[in-house]
Symmetry: C2
Subunit: 332 residues, 2 copies
DNA sequence: TTGTATGCGTTATCAT
DNA sequence: ATGATAACGCATACAA
């Protein structure tokens, strides 16, 4: 089968030998280098030989040579980003893969700024998608100088440093609050999860609630039945609560019902994320969903464009924005 | 700052210059090569210089040279593996990262056997964790011959080809069925999800149910309220249902309640995965949980051992086993 | 139109 | 105890 040494994967040299051309020609043909002119006949021979041998270019060699790998690095811990991103991630991974990139989730959480950038650079990624808060000007400069073409920030607002994917948590909180007020709630509260990583988003959403109802209370809550029960029994809950997300909503609602309170008559609750469980609860749960202005395919395309140098990478720009959309159900 | 060309990341040559030694010495020191004898004094100078320059070895160059990257490849789509693996993934990712590996989830689903192996080899991974069903003997041989040290199968039973992580879906179904029978159900059914990727696990779990109750019915169900309602209204449900997992259980229960049936009096339901929502439903949901015989840390350690050549990679072996544990709640 | 030659940054062999 | 040096596989400037 393999006409070469040992039994290692075939190299471009093997393909060249099999096709009766030089290694350079193989490289030209398989990378579709527009710079080089190769006859159709030769192209065919090369492609045939490559297919026959099952040739797949060595990613490491290509990276070493070009200074840039096909890796798109997402230094985020999955748990930290919530359900939404979990759904988006799979699609994004597929989009990048079909475009020849490898999306790598890299859960390291402690490093920031230049130190983080250095550790990311070990992989010579083509792009880095990371919380904007972890970036600094020197870090961004270092990344760019080191061959990273696209540095994309994830944030709840545009970033002056890099193009950003914006998750408008404030607007989400505000949308929930507006709905609660419209359906008659007088006093509001917003849940802020105690879980590390979720708390920042919780605070942003609370800020949004307070844009609408300045006096809205803050309920710090860990995801536990016991704590939810304690808070409900303390009895000072207002008549409208934005529960941070659907799971916290379900937690709160079950505690409310256990305490003999009626939902939504005594306390109205709004969740977020619009999980399937919303339609399975009785009454069904109203939820605020994040809608993206750009699909995962668009996002991957945009980043691909930046990497390929077709588009510039501009600070302050918004690559995609996630905006709240209210899904009203409780009344049903 | 950077005493070298342009502004690219410092190389070992830069470190050597800064430390006043040769590049080879840098390599020796930083890889702790036991083969080479370097004085403490020199080691210190090298490490200082490396730290000062923020030197991080280029992964591509190292891979090209050693023939093996630090990548642990998991060619699985996240959606396909269910909640369990989603939880495990984050921990596994962290474990591997602290050991110097990069866990890469690679959602490509179509390729199998040698073709799949070839595409995976582009990254020269140190280890591949993949559904055993996608492996063939030639594929495993090719991977091993190409430098992949650990090929680990994921399966519902030990694999003759490779060491396996076993998810005992049959036992899980059987445990659920046993519980239903014990609490008084006469006739049983098991839900098999229509969703592609979940159906195989569903069938394995159904087989487990039928080990206990041979005549148990099969309910094919997509995750939709409408379809669940239709099935419930058709009225031929038995008095005990294993719902495949907790989310399907919730779907089914809400349809049952809508139809005026009592749970568990008329129809008892058991879920799986033991999600937080189990304790939030009323009545609480009994669920079968997968418990691992080995923690993510153990698993990563085991694979690390194989990669480092300390342990052999043996077909038929079981690296870790996920066994069902019944969490009884409905009676509470 | 195709081939030759070079270097990317690292590891590891072999001299010194 | 340390330094020169040769690959690893690929992409590309340049020669033919």
């Amino acid at each position: 089968m393999n006409t070469t040494r040992g039994d290692r994967p075939p190299t471009s040299v093997d393909v060249a030998r099999a096709a009766g051309v030089s290694q350079a020609t193989v490289s030209y043909v398989l990378t579709d280098n527009p710079h080089a002119r190769v006859s159709e006949e030769t192209r065919r021979r090369v492609r045939d030989a490559a297919a026959r041998l099952g040739y797949v270019p060595d990613a490491a060699a290509r990276t070493l040579r070009t200074g840039r790998s096909g890796i798109v690095l997402m230094p985020l811990s999955r748990a930290r980003v919530g359900r939404l991103a979990q759904q988006v991630f799979d699609e994004l991974e597929e989009e990048f893969r079909t475009r020849g990139y490898t999306l790598v989730q890299y859960g390291e959480r402690t490093l920031k700024g230049v130190a983080a950038a250095r550790s990311w650079l070990a992989l010579r990624p083509s792009a880095v998608l990371v919380e904007a808060a972890r970036l600094t000007r020197p870090a961004v400069d270092l990344l760019h100088a080191s061959g990273v073409r696209a540095v994309i920030g994830l944030s709840d607002q545009p970033s002056p440093l890099v193009p950003a994917v914006v998750f408008d948590h404030r607007a989400l909180g505000a949308a929930a609050a507006r709905h609660l007020v419209e359906r008659g709630s007088r006093r509001l509260a917003a849940v802020v999860p105690r879980e590390e990583g979720l708390d920042a988003m919780g605070r942003a959403r609370l800020a949004g609630v307070r844009e609408v109802v300045p006096g809205a209370a803050r309920i710090d809550l860990a995801f536990s039945e016991e704590e939810a029960g304690r808070i409900v029994r303390a009895g000072d809950l207002p008549d409208g609560v934005f529960a941070y997300n659907d799971e916290y909503a379900m937690l709160l609602i079950s505690a409310l019902k256990d305490a003999g309170l009626r939902v939504p008559e005594d306390v109205a609750v709004v969740g977020a994320d619009d999980l399937p469980i919303c339609t399975l609860m009785r009454p069904r749960l109203t939820s605020v969903h994040f809608d993206a202005t750009a699909s995962p395919a668009d996002l991957a395309g945009e980043i691909d464009g930046i990497v390929r140098g077709e588009r510039p990478s501009v600070g302050g720009e918004v690559v995609a924005r996630f905006e709240p959309r209210l899904v009203i159900r409780a009344s049903a």
